[in-house]
Amino acid sequence: MTSEHQPPTPILDVRDLSIAYTRGRESVTAVDSVSFALAPGDRLAIIGESGSGKSSIVNSLLGLLPENSRRSATSVRFDDVDLSALSSETDWNQVRGHRIAFIPQDPTIALDPVMRIGPQVVETLTLHGGLERRAARGRTLELLDQVGIRDPERVFRAHPHELSGGMRQRVLIAIALAGDAELIIADEPTSGLDVTVQGVVLDLLDEVVRSHGVSVVLITHDLAVAGARADQILVLQDGRIIESGRTAEILAAPRSAYTRRMLEAAPSIHHTKLAASAEARERAVPAAPGGSDRGQSLLELRGVVKEYSRRGLGQGTFRAVDEVSLAVPAGSSLGIVGESGSGKSTLARIATGIVRPDQGQVLYRGENVTHRRGAVKRRLFSQMQYVFQNPYSSLDPRFSVAEVIAEPLDALQATSRSERDRRVAEVLDAVGLPADIARRSPTELSGGQRQRVAIARAVALRPPLLVLDEPVSALDVTVQAQILQLLADLQAEFSLTYLFITHDLAVVRLLCDDALVLENGHVVEHRPVADLFADPAEDYTRALLAAIP
């Protein structure tokens, strides 16, 4: 056996791995002659956007390829085991979960929901480690402590749903350690987690590699994460390796245009606000009749409170939003930043009138619209529109793109058919989509195209205010960059005001003038973005800043 990298003896050696899926009579190649090798204690990052074949490679290493797939390879060797020769589930179980551990994107599905955490770890120890129960219990507490769980006794007795996402990932890492895994395959292990927790979990993984000499295959779409956490990088596009090598070399001098684009697209590498493109500025419509109101606050919230009753044991109420006041000056962008559960989405829904606050006031152009209903509510919908996080759920799959965009036009601004068609064509052009897409169904479009359609629907009414609820976090990095640029362009073109909800401060820096940091429903900081980055006043903000990869 010869090896290009000449490491001691690779723990994982994959040669000419190809995977194809058949559906009906069609056959789609997902992975095309991929080869790589991993030395013991090495960390390999496989990077690619959705559809690049990352998951197929992972599934083939774990024997989880579906039945409609065909795999061919010269060799897929893990230490002394030929993975390509394993056929039965029994064979796979000798390796999988024992010598190869898997950390999935969503930790909830990997833990048994009706079993307490402790016994789940103990089981691995007794099954694979041959420990007796009593010893296993002690070892479990030790492992939980090792993965940075502060209160192992409590977690031991807890059920998975009582733990946060970050804690669950730690438990999975503990289980991986319990099985004495030699290889950990982590498939986007942090993309379901809050930013501040992401760093901690990745640090823990690094720590495990150092202390236990485990090798790691890290699947990610984020070049920044890979850059900081891997020794080797493999860049996949359409199932083919387009670049591979040592991390430092790739980051310093990416050879392929695709890698360069990914590097440039990472929001964290830009340190200033995105400028609108020249064309967008040219196309900019002059300020709306009624004079420019730039600088005056368009939307204002005063001491807004929203409480929800806790479900279940009748533990009273829980304040999702706690006395929040804010003002969005016309023509500017305010970023609302916080982790999940910080109340940012509730705040956006209060601002747009979908949710009513329990206390406080909502003002639009100085008018109190807190208890809007009927005609006022409808009039305000043409003043503010909402862009949802998930473009796969925000477009009715039964509608055509044109119908999706025309719906609010028909409902709120009775226009003639030709006028409506003209407006649809206009906004499609504004969001950079070809005109012929109008007749297609959203289900035929990619995530980025769908989000463009959703944005087109929102701007079709020409509302002065757009509320953007994590509009890029469901998209691939390169697509994210395009959508952010589009938002910057549209802001210049239609003099829009943005209320931008996000968990990612890097995105705020790209698009916003001011930032409001929200923690557990109350405002931690509310300052211009530049100040915030230069001198974060609060620990929580510093944690969020540190989380930018």
């Binding site: 979960g97 048994d112 719906e407």
Partner: protein, 301 residues
């Protein structure tokens, strides 16, 4: 891209349990996609579907299947056993039993269809309101449904038909109303799921009016399982309609109807069993075939 859809990342629990659980995934995927057309060719389904088509033709063009007049009595041919001239024999007035069965199909099917339409329409409105508006509306509708479900359907139908009086339309209403509860439950559950979708909220933001949102965005995404239930209940509706006609609540005397055919042969059961057993068998076969077809439709989705 496409293969990501084909192979969603499956979880693997490092302890091995998950591996077994996860490995079931692909097979289910296949059942959903590739195997669907093949399942439609299953023999039970084919036979059932063919039989239902035949029954449907009886209802549409009875004259193709029998040359006898269902009302024409023949004193010389009373209570004849099945033969090549009278396929299912003749009744006490000498009328051809097969002709009466074939000509009665239309009444029975139309009555069942009417019953299901009533159930579908009413339960759609109730389910949409309960699921979408929620709160006190949901509670009110929910309680009524719970009470209705506690009473056997046929009993509800009997109570209603006693109040409404006799006739095909009235038994259709009675049977329809008794199925509203279970339909509404399914509809409500679907609506609860659909209203979570962002496109429903997006329509609200677009200023679309309440009933339009329900009609345009919620209803079309919620009806699939209800439609499957309608197909499944079709057999039960035929059975309930026949039962009520058997008891004499249905179509007036000379008009042929499946339930009343069975009932009229009852007096001669001892020496002319074919008058009761053969139409009864047809009812049973139609119910079984309808169920088989409905289950297949439900499985294929």
């Amino acid at each position: 891209m496409s293969h990501d859809v084909l192979s969603p990342p499956r979880p693997l629990d490092p302890r091995g349990h998950g591996a077994r659980r996860a490995s079931r995934g692909p097979r289910q995927d296949r059942a959903g996609a590739d195997a669907a057309p093949r399942r439609l060719l299953a023999p039970t389904f084919l036979i059932s579907a063919a039989f239902l088509v035949l029954v449907l033709l009886w209802a549409l063009v009875p004259a193709w299947f029998t040359s006898y007049d269902p009302y024409q009595s023949d004193a010389a041919a009373k209570l004849l056993p099945p033969s090549s001239t009278h396929l299912l024999g003749t009744d006490s007035l000498g009328r051809d039993s097969f002709a009466r069965l074939v000509h009665g199909t239309r009444t029975t099917l139309l009555t069942s269809l009417l019953a299901l339409t009533i159930a579908f329409v009413v339960s759609s409105v109730l389910g949409l309101l309960a699921g979408y508006v929620g709160g006190i509306v949901d509670d009110a509708i929910g309680r009524v449904i719970d009470v209705t479900l506690a009473v056997p359907g046929l009993l509800v139908s009997l109570m209603l038909v006693t109040g409404l009086g006799f006739g095909a339309v009235n038994i259709a209403i009675a049977v329809g109303v008794s199925s509203i509860a279970s339909f509404t439950r399914v509809m409500r559950a679907q609506v609860l799921r659909v209203r979570q979708a962002d496109f429903v909220t997006a329509a609200e933001f677009g200023g679309v009016r309440f009933w339009t949102i329900l009609r345009r965005h919620v209803f079309p995404h919620a009806i699939a399982p209800v439609t499957a239930l309608v197909a499944l209940e079709f057999g039960a509706a035929i059975l309930a309609i026949s039962a009520l006609s058997f008891l004499g609540f249905g179509a007036a005397a000379p008009e042929p109807e499946w339930g009343s055919l069975v009932a009229s042969g009852r007096d001669y059961l001892a020496f002319a069993w074919w008058l009761t057993i053969l139409p009864g068998t047809v009812v049973v076969l139609v119910v079984l075939a309808a169920n088989a077809v409905a289950r297949q439709i439900e499985k294929v989705g």
